[in-house]
């Protein structure tokens, strides 16, 4: 297990490095010069040139990437071009809002998805199974921002049950402000998780070891739990691990719609302003978290399934 963890860790670092390199390159393809943005339309060519120099934008691309790496290793993600504050600090201020939103969305959707999937598999071909299938596919095909808009409209505007704007102050207020955004992001994942759990349960249920467990007269609930579900959740864990990337992109829309602080809102603002260091910093941290999420899901799978530990 230790060796496996070390291997996965090295792989993760490589992935982050490749992602950062690609990102720096991509920013240069997007039109709009960060130096021009900072200085405004009336800046003289000399001034623009000097700012570009100060930001390192005049250097060859590989040098820029190398410099960026060197700075990251020192914990320096550069400065906000407008306020001069450290990017790392700005990003870390916003990060908890997004992390809480995504974590809550994952937790509730995974719990509901696994329960719904398991129920459908055990009661397959009943009308409840059919209904859950239709609802799941329905929620999967609705984008998170549409879900967000309608949930604001229904629960905040019409019914007035829940707040629609901001992240709230204090614990309880924070929770009431979390419900709608976490619902909007998570609801599609209830569909994804329940479909995959149902399919993999139906497959595991036909495996010979389940028949063997029955041959020993084990209680049906125990068979479901430790012979079927324990194996059937494995693909769902992998799915959720890779799904964190999608949750981040959903969070971007949802944070804007709910005027909620967070990485998504920060990123949208920074892109509009061509606030180059903040975009890079925010995307870097996000990439790191996505890779970390994949790593964690791989380790959870390895923890649940001993066969995985000895591969690679």
């Amino acid at each position: 297990m230790l060796f496996y963890t070390a291997q996965r860790l090295v792989l993760s670092v490589v992935i982050v490095m490749v992602a950062v390199s690609i990102l720096t390159l991509m920013l240069h393809v997007v039109p709009g010069d960060p130096a021009v943005m900072i200085l405004g339309p009336r800046a003289t060519p000399e001034l623009i040139e000097r700012t570009r120099e100060a930001m390192g934008l005049d250097r060859p691309l590989p040098v820029q990437v190398a410099m960026f790496f060197a700075n990251i290793l020192r914990g320096d993600l550069g400065q906000d071009v407008f306020t001069g504050r450290a990017v790392s600090q700005i990003v870390l201020e916003q990060l908890p809002y997004t992390m809480i939103l995504i974590s809550v969305a994952i937790l509730w959707s995974a719990a509901c998805g696994i329960a719904l999937g398991a129920y459908s598999a055990l009661r397959r071909n009943t009308w409840l199974d059919t209904l859950s299938g239709v609802v799941s596919v329905g929620t999967i095909s609705i984008p998170a921002f549409v879900m967000a808009l309608y949930s604001v409209l229904i629960f905040a505007v019409w019914l007035g049950w829940l707040p629609a704007i901001g992240a709230g102050d204090g614990f309880w207020d924070g929770i009431t402000h979390l419900i709608l955004p976490a619902f909007a992001i998570g609801v599609a994942w209830v569909g994804y998780v329940s479909r995959i759990v149902r399919a993999s349960m139906l497959e595991v249920m036909t495996q010979p070891h389940v028949r063997m467990a029955r041959a020993f007269g084990l209680p049906e609930r125990r068979i479901t739990r430790s012979h079927i579900l324990k194996i059937a959740v494995l693909p769902a864990v992998t799915l959720i691990g890779t799904g964190v990337a999608h949750l981040f992109s959903a969070a971007v829309f949802v944070e804007v719609i709910f005027a909620r602080p967070g990485i998504g809102a920060l990123l949208v603002g920074a892109v509009n302003e061509r606030n180059y260091p903040i975009v890079l910093g925010a995307v870097l941290i996000t990439t790191g978290i996505i890779v970390l999420a994949t790593l964690i899901s791989d380790l959870v799978v390895a923890l649940l399934d001993p066969r995985q530990r000895e591969e690679f």
């Binding site: 495996q207 010979p208 070891h209 028949r211 063997m212 467990a213 029955r214 041959a215 020993f216 007269g217 084990l218 209680p219 125990r222 430790s226 012979h227 324990k230 194996i231 649940l304 399934d305 001993p306 066969r307 000895e310």
Partner: protein, 336 residues
Amino acid sequence: MATHATATATEEPLVAVEGLSVDFDTPRGTIQALRDIDLTVPKGKVLGIVGESGCGKSTLAYSLIGLLAENARVAGGAIRMGEHDLARLGAAGWRDLRGTRVAMIFQDPMTALNPVTTIGQQMLDIQYRDRISRSEKRARAVEFLEQVQIPDAASKLDAYPHQLSGGMRQRVCIAMALLTQPDLLIADEPTTALDATLEMQIVALLRELQQKFGCSVVFVSHHLGTVAELCDDVAVMYAGEVVERGSARSLFHDPQHPYTQALLDCDPARIKIATRTLPTIPGTLPDLRQPPRGCAFRARCPHAWGRCEREHPPLYPGAAGQRVRCHLSDPAEDAA
């Protein structure tokens, strides 16, 4: 049961299958997989079930432990075991019998164990009914792993199935089955997935442990050599019917049914003349959706004549005390 044993009760079989018929409902029709099976499993003896693949051996084995597929239906007959009729037993009734009086060993040891749970935990789980401490259950698990001659048994409790070889896994399955101290042990081709040397080891082990524990065994195989080695009685199945049954000795030394004779002729261990390819019985199994009206083996039988097409043969008494479903064994035929 054993406490009530009297002189007459010892002659009574452990299980009596009486006219059992099992159908499978499929989209393309009803498969009559078992038709009017009559069998007895004597107490403390080994009954072998042989026949080509597809002739209903597994269906019979699974019906003895109530694990038939969902599309299976008992169309008639009974399976008597003590006061129970296993053919009509409900889910709760089965849970009380499985893992206490009836246990089973499966064909493929590679997939029979839960891949994500240790051997030890699986052996503890099946003792869930016993009111003894966890450490006593572990000790029992080690004891039975030693019974099946697994080296360094205590350390295997923490192993996962994939860390053991196929032969070792099948030993674990045998240990688990015996741990529950069943009256009836069903083994559905337990050695088919193993290579020949392992097969002989496992068969020898089964024989030894069967004698030690005194349980009855139903041993399914398509390999006559292993059946001859292990079994007291043998039933030969063809197309969902028992075509010949009797003591192993009588069947192997004086087979009466042309199908039994053909099976013996095809057994690699008995072939005396070197050939390039293994001999097989020409022809194929009849369609079990519409079993033939007369004798099921008629189309492949070298001796078939008109009566075989018209009349379904009953089980006639054979020369060496066996029962034979073939008109050739009809005493009236001899007289004619």
